[in-house]
Symmetry: C2
DNA sequence: GTATTTCTGGATTGATTAATATTGAAGTCT
DNA sequence: AGACTTCAATATTAATCAATCCAGAAATAC
């Protein structure tokens, strides 16, 4: 699309990737523009602001990029070809694997990217909080779908499942950043899913619908 | 103990309390010395450094104060008069209640107090990481005690319990900060404890030992 | 070739950061 | 009373923050 004028000398996509890594490691506020410009290929302030607008605008773009790539571990939640149980299990397992992988920073940009924020950067905090709410809603929708399906019989216990799974999901970020192994988390997920299974077989209906 | 010289004009304990609240709300780095001095009674820089040494020294003192008060919700983990199951359940419930109370900031200082940190403040991050490790060890010790007691029969599943409960515990901080109600979390804890109970009754022995 | 457009490099902006120095007031001890 | 000790207010330190400006370089359009 670049029509006229002098072409950019650095690779915008690579710069965005580098910024993602830095934001992921340090979080929004501690990441300084100097560090960003350095890791993005020693670009000048003018180049930076021409290409990305501002630190906050860059971060928003970084979050979108994260959601479109690493964040896709959450996709099973909205994949209705999966059973609700498999959707949640896969989401947990893929999150644990992604957040502990050695190919990227540990932990979760959405949970930890703007954890310590000055009031003036509340918009950034709000942006990530909205994504976490999306996670919550996705898990809740899965549980409700299971009730509609007949996989689960609605009860006081099924009402607690969304908070249970969401709290565990978001807790993975802390454990991953603290050095937990994927094996450890995976095993915990296996045990956690027993909660679902014991609720699924408890009431009358012999076998699940799908 | 104040022997001689002009006595301090501000209340050191109240100042520490105010600093705790501010650090709890914002985290370590975004909390500026100006904000601290203001909330501590408009004290001067000289007074601040004379009384507390530095920002980091103040934070360390704040963390100790937190652990000695709010952090006592974790005490059941090391209370051997409680059954291991009750110790973990009480810890979870008291954490959820404390972190959602309207009398103090939401979330957890240990989990979220230094989440976004520049490399130069790594000592602060390390301080909190060590406390989180203490939580992990406490939960693990409870599970191991249950196995020794005979409350639980050692199996692949019991090996996963420490990570399961710890991940949930640390996840509470995120959910509390995002506005979850204590009722919601409490209900989720009830369901989570079913994991323990189903493991406890599964193997042979009819009733628990104590 | 000339005009136009867009990028880059370097210098600089004002605000804010944590921390220190100086100075004088306010207290205790003998 | 007078020596001594500790505090607090003001001013200031150097460093860093995100962001802007300006001049020159490099490309395209006509």
């Amino acid at each position: 699309m670049a029509r006229t004028g002098r072409p950019r000398e650095f690779d915008r996509d690579k710069a965005l990737d580098a910024a993602l890594t830095l934001f992921w490691e340090l979080g929004y506020e501690p990441t300084s523009l100097n560090q960003l410009k350095a890791c993005m290929g020693n670009i000048s302030p003018a180049s930076f602001y021409a290409a990305f607008g501002s630190k906050e605008a860059l971060f928003r773009e970084v979050v979108q990029h994260y959601l479109a790539t690493y964040g896709q571990v959450m996709a099973p939640l909205w994949d209705e070809t999966l059973s609700p149980r498999d959707a949640i299990e896969q989401t947990l397992r893929r999150s644990a694997r992604m957040q502990t992988a050695r190919t990227n920073p540990t932990g979760c940009l959405i949970v930890q990217g703007a954890c310590n924020c000055s009031p003036e950067n509340q918009p950034v905090q709000t942006l990530l909080a909205a994504e976490r709410k999306r996670n919550r809603n996705g898990i809740k929708a899965c549980v409700e779908r299971a009730v509609t399906n007949g996989d689960l019989t609605k009860s006081a216990a099924t009402d607690t499942l969304p908070a249970l799974f969401t709290t565990f999901l978001h807790g993975i970020a802390c454990e991953a950043k603290d050095g937990d192994r994927v094996k450890t988390l995976d095993a915990a997920i296996t045990t956690l899913m027993h909660v679902w299974d014991s609720l699924a077989m408890k009431p009358g209906s012999a076998s699940s619908s799908r």
